[in-house]
């Protein structure tokens, strides 16, 4: 059975070019980039190129890039550094819909005695900027807001938010793990101080990430050890994968337009077809300011895990914000923050596409998906044929 992979916000295929670039550094060129011999030195030079490639993708200087092991490490480093360098400040601002890398971290920090403000979102997943402005205080050490939401793809106005923070002398960090490679990013034009990105979301392997730290920003390392990364992150570099991250960054820059045309068109085709073929379905999140590859659709009166396992029978990979798949007993915190009603939240499916998806694949999903919902609805005690169609109801924020 062939796999139709529509779960690219979870992880992506390593691009063939990326793998090619990595292989020599897994086989023959195994030197340590910090060594004093040329066998290691050549690896160091190649790593420098990778750093330049990553920097180029987001409009940064190479020395502003700190390589890490993943997006979560980048996030932890950024927040911990901000708190360590402004020890007098005891307040953080974030949003209610962050990835667990931030969400769980700030919950932990709250237990350590920090004050945390989480900015709410509306029914479309849009941030309440007035609330945000009110939350910035002289005691605020750092703001951390995701650039794009991993579940809905909704894009936050981070540039505007960063300007507001800068005016008040507050550091601004963005978790851009889902945004990098999908929308244009230029840190030269930005007021943001720190940005996290992850390799495996943009066709590099798992286990590498980067943190952008603007030149002049006070910094305190998270991993303390050797002099790697100019003392900003100890530990021997994951050389081959970082070279992969560099290649993937160069590829992402080349494919950015494709992401916003071909991929977006396929996403729209899938979304519009499912909405029109399946009654009582709706998109979660603002359809305007949204990543071009992501579609989060709720199907009323059915449960997400059941949908996923039926899709699995056809080799179709997607994900869900239902309770059964979230690892807790409640549906995703993002959908709950948006006030998505329970009848809808448990039946949410996220499709996230990549440049490797094809039109025949999307057609296949459009063919197979509606009967799955229909069948699961015949199983559901809440579903009656001819029920009121949800589009006529008000599902505004609760």
């Amino acid at each position: 059975m062939t796999t139709i992979y529509l779960d690219n916000n979870a992880t992506t295929q390593v691009a063939p070019e990326v793998l090619e670039a990595m292989l020599p550094y897994l086989r023959d060129l195994y030197g340590n980039p910090s060594s004093m011999h040329s066998f290691g030195g050549q690896v160091g030079r190649r790593l420098r190129l990778a750093r330049e490639q990553v920097a180029a993708l987001i409009g940064a200087h190479p020395e502003e890039i700190v390589f890490t092991s993943c997006g979560t490490e980048s996030d932890n480093t950024a927040i911990r550094s901000a708190l360590a360098t402004y020890p007098g400040k005891r307040h953080l601002v974030t949003t209610r819909v962050e990835h667990p890398a931030i969400h769980a971290l700030v919950a932990h920090l709250a237990q350590e005695g920090y004050r945390v403000s989480e900015i709410p979102v509306d029914g479309e997943g849009r941030l309440n900027l007035e609330h945000y402005a009110r939350s910035l205080t002289p005691d605020t050490a750092v703001v951390s807001a995701m650039w794009a939401n991993n579940e809905t793809g909704v894009i936050f106005p981070v540039e505007e938010m960063a300007m507001m923070a800068r005016h008040k002398g507050i550091l601004f960090h963005t978790d851009a793990v889902q945004a990098v490679g999908k929308i244009p990013i230029d840190m030269r034009q930005s007021a943001m101080d720190m940005l996290s990105l992850s390799g495996h979301k943009l066709h590099a392997p798992k286990g590498v990430g980067a943190l952008y730290v603007r030149k002049g920003t006070k910094f305190s390392p998270f991993l303390i050890g050797g002099h790697q990364e100019k003392g900003r992150r100890g530990g021997t570099e994951n050389v081959a994968s970082l070279i992969g991250l560099g290649e993937a960054s160069e590829l992402a820059a080349k494919n950015l337009e494709k992401e916003n045309t071909a991929v977006k068109n396929l996403r729209d085709k899938l979304e519009n077809a499912l909405l029109s073929l399946i009654p009582n379905s709706r998109v979660n999140g603002d359809r305007q300011d949204r990543l071009p590859n992501t579609s989060n659709i709720s199907f009323e009166y059915v449960e997400g895990e059941a949908i996923l396992l039926r899709l699995n029978e056809f080799g179709i990979c997607a994900s869900s914000g239902s309770a059964c798949t979230s690892g807790s007993l409640q549906p995703s915190h993002v959908l709950r923050a948006m006030g998505v009603p329970f009848t809808m939240a448990h039946g949410s499916i996220r499709f996230s596409l990549s440049i490797y998806n094809t039109e025949p694949e999307i057609n296949f999903v459009i063919e197979k998906f509606p009967p799955i919902i229909e069948e699961l609805r015949t199983l559901s005690p809440y579903w009656e044929v001819g029920q009121e169609v949800c589009a006529t109801r008000d599902f505004g924020g609760v």
Partner: protein, 276 residues
Amino acid sequence: MWEYSEKTLEHFLHPRNVGEVENPDGTALVGNIACGDALKLTFKMDEDGKIKEAKFKTFGCASAIAAASALTEMIKGMTVEEAEKLTNQDIADYLGGLPQEKMHCSVMGREALEKAIAHYKGVPVAETEGKVVCECFGVTEPEIERVVRENNLKTIEEVTDYTKAGGGCGGCHEAIQEIIDRVRAEIKPAAMLRPKLTNIQKIKMIEETLEREIRPALRQDGGDIELVDVVGNKVMVATRGACASCAAVHLTLKDFVEAKLRELVWPELEVEEVSQ
């Protein structure tokens, strides 16, 4: 991804007895959409006082659908008295075990059955009338008590896996712990009153329990088990037939075989699989 048994997946992909029985003798709806799963069970009796027909409708995940499908298959042909004895563990065993976090699906099945039987008899269900302990999922004190007792639960986490109670805001954790402590305090003295067994008595009782309680259930699924040796509290067994090639056999050994032996023979027994 959850590690579902083949039988669970099979019942999920091809659920039996979907729908509602016309003019049912017993009917019940348990769970609700906010909690993420619900089960509507209907059944009809025949002239001999046996369940003739049973159907279900489920809103929920794969294991919730499979548990409901299994339940309807299991109760067909049973008398009400037989059906009343069915436990959530029986449903889980029928499916070749459920992941720990999904045990609440089997509990939902048992609750639906109980409520439908109560409806048939025209009597109220005791469990649903008690004080609500978990506000998030609407779980009552008698419900938690019963599940703790029947499944020998020891931690809040286990109670959450079986009933969902405590899986929301967490505000009821203290109350759940009190229930666990109370029930376990009741169970313990009873167990401690047991006279010490000699090794020979123990082996005999293990053999009898295997024969009477365990092997028939395993054989239903084409599997079997043999006692190899008993050393102290370690019970060495070998699996046969479908069990020998079943990915979920460890679950069955732990959650079913060991649990039964602990209940009926000696509370400190440990079951170990040996190849022979």
